[in-house]
Symmetry: C2
Subunit: 195 residues, 2 copies
């Protein structure tokens, strides 16, 4: 009921996914465990002060260019376009892609007032004209906005002659066919592979 | 993928209700909005530095005694015992109680290794002997642990002659009888009021 308490709850409430009840729960936790509170404060500050976007791909880095863009063993002729940083992290974990990345920072979403100018599209198109790119893998999410964004990019790069690709649609590994939704199943049939 | 990024995600993951995916989402949000990150950092620090428990009731305060314990208009002969700070806040919002509070800081929970010594019970019993208390309202949650904690306190105060009470059980306002669970409905019948 002190002003510091109200300030703490207010700064937590409004973070994505944090409602008023959860904000109170988090505030109590942070007051109960000063170590967690110290660690959070320190991490938030150093992230804000140190992390910046890679000047090439937009990934979070503490240098001018990120670890992947400066890695000579990566294929510079392949660019994988993703929405956000965690998408890059997920693709890196699966170890199936050895090219470079480009982070859009979101998706086209007219309802949320996100247009082409709000994404890192200019730097993508510039990058494509400057370097000798062979393939662009459009790895936006399989959502309406993700598809629309991929389609927009594909449209703009149609004349470039660069090979454009999209992540495969189909059944998730370990899933059950009987529980798959109609669209996923239809796409798995359309994209069926010879064995 | 920088170390500051990992540190930020790690400090968020593990907060109550925050999983790995939500930690990444929060981290992206905090990097995208430096204002939110500054506000959070500042609020977390000032809460840790300024907030302490009221020496009487244990509520969060920035002074030795909280606003309620120092309010001369409150009835000092009534103490409402609650589990946590948000419970006090909820009771204050409903404006039905004009006495003072005592915050336990949790509930008895053998499975979580929380025993009587981990709660603010000694200070409650001490408070009861020192002051002229007329009634103690045991407002722990209507859960197994909350009931057990209320029963434990009642047992310890049985000889004191102080009137002990518990919040009424019954149907929540605005709810539908047909959807009430059996225990709630049974208690609403047992506690029926003359009209």
């Amino acid at each position: 009921m002190s002003s510091s308490w109200n300030k703490l709850v207010k700064s937590l409430y409004g973070l994505p996914g944090v409602g008023p009840k959860m904000a109170e729960r988090l505030a109590i936790y942070l007051l109960k465990y000063p170590n967690a509170s110290l660690a959070l404060e320190d991490a938030v500050r150093s992230a804000r002060e140190k992390i910046r976007p890679c000047q090439m791909c937009g990934a979070f880095t503490e240098d001018d260019f990120c670890r992947i863009c400066t890695d000579e063993s990566r294929d510079k002729a392949q660019i994988c376009v993703v929405e956000q940083m965690p998408d890059l992290a997920a693709l890196e974990r699966c170890r199936a892609f050895r090219g470079q990345y480009h982070i859009l920072g979101g998706v086209l979403s007219p309802l949320d007032n996100v247009g082409p100018d709000d994404l890192r599209l200019d730097s993508l198109f510039h990058r494509v004209t400057q370097n000798n790119i062979r393939e662009i893998l459009l790895a936006t999410n399989p959502t309406v906005e993700g598809e629309a964004t991929a389609a927009y990019i594909a449209q703009n790069l149609k004349e470039s002659g660069i090979r454009l690709s999209r992540l495969a649609y189909g059944l998730p590994s370990g899933s059950a066919l009987e529980y798959a939704d109609d669209i996923t199943l239809a796409r798995a049939v359309e994209g069926r592979q010879p064995i």
